[in-house]
Symmetry: C2
Subunit: 205 residues, 2 copies
């Protein structure tokens, strides 16, 4: 990583901390440059404006989360050849991952953007959209594999089910923040797991 890339990454690091802690517009550029030990001019050398910063944060978030899910679901599939058991293990691991995060899940930058969409330009909204559609495709594949093996106990669209995973995680984060109880998010993920179990798992007799 070159010197410029290092500085850019350092800016993104301190910006992400602040954004997740107190929201995007409560995070001032002056505060970012102070914590990143750079000048305002230096900041605007790397980012055209605050929108470009948001865009870069979301893009990086997509990458990091993709690797995280790849790792998590990969480990889950190693633990079981069965697609349903793999998914259930994956959701359990996800709940544990969220629970172990110090101070709870730091919050999702995608939701932050979704709730202030007029503040961002088309580029940022597109990046946000791509992130969510990426999750949809990923979880849809997961559920399709399960549905090929197990009959469904209720007639629901797999695409909606794929979105359900994201919904519950995002909603769980909102609830955890609103109530001030960081454990809520992982509890909600476990309820999602309960649903997947009831929806696909064959019952004896």
């Amino acid at each position: 990583m070159s010197r410029g890339e290092e500085t850019r990454a350092r800016i993104l690091d301190v910006a992400q901390d602040s954004v997740l802690a107190k929201g995007f517009d409560a995070t001032s550029i002056e505060e970012i440059v102070a914590n990143a030990e750079i000048t305002k001019s230096g900041f605007f050398y790397h980012f055209r404006d605050k929108n470009a910063l948001a865009r870069a944060l979301i893009d990086r978030h997509i990458e990091v989360e993709k690797e995280l899910f790849d790792d998590l679901l990969g480990r889950a599939r190693e633990l079981s050849d069965d697609p349903l058991q793999g998914a259930l293990i994956g959701l359990k691991l996800l709940a544990e991952l969220i629970e172990d995060m110090p101070g709870g899940h730091p919050g999702c930058i995608v939701a932050t953007a979704a709730y202030q969409d007029r503040l961002f330009d088309q580029d940022v909204r597109d990046a946000n959209r791509r992130a969510v559609l990426g999750w949809r495709a990923r979880f849809r594949r997961m559920f399709e594999e399960i549905a090929q093996v197990y009959p469904m106990r209720d007639d629901v669209e797999l695409e909606h089910l794929a979105d359900f995973v994201s919904s519950v995680v995002e909603g769980g984060i909102v609830m955890a923040r609103a109530v001030g109880d960081p454990l809520i998010t992982s509890q909600q993920v476990m309820l999602l797991r309960s649903y997947i179990k009831l929806l696909f798992e064959p019952r004896i007799q």
Copy 2:
């Protein structure tokens, strides 16, 4: 309603439209006073600062939503004496209500506050917390009534289940906004309904 109360309500109306459309801090006070046909001084006569406005918006939101849910669940219970069927009908009505909203659900002001919590003071966060805990109590009672009649097919906490309703709605709103498809929220509510059905409904044989 006195003259002052009318003005105050008019300010809240135009503020709410803007906040739901583009976020709280993207909504300027100058814009609000222009649309409400009042002066800046007039605004600060009714609200000490922007925090007081947020607080008032949330308080009013709690009231309106409480009436909406009372009406909706009341109608659902009229249609069926059975608590489970009442809940399933209620969730269906909720999904239809959300689907019929022009341009999709306008978004939840509570989540807006949750994602910018450092921007607001303790008063606002407390009001937000009360709103969410109110939902928890409401839905918890609903599930307790069901659980007294029907055995549960999976061992989950009723309090977590109560939060699940809010999670799915809030998460569904985030997803709808992020993807740009207003139908998503109601689809997610129907998946929640599917879970409640599988969790409580006795299967024949």
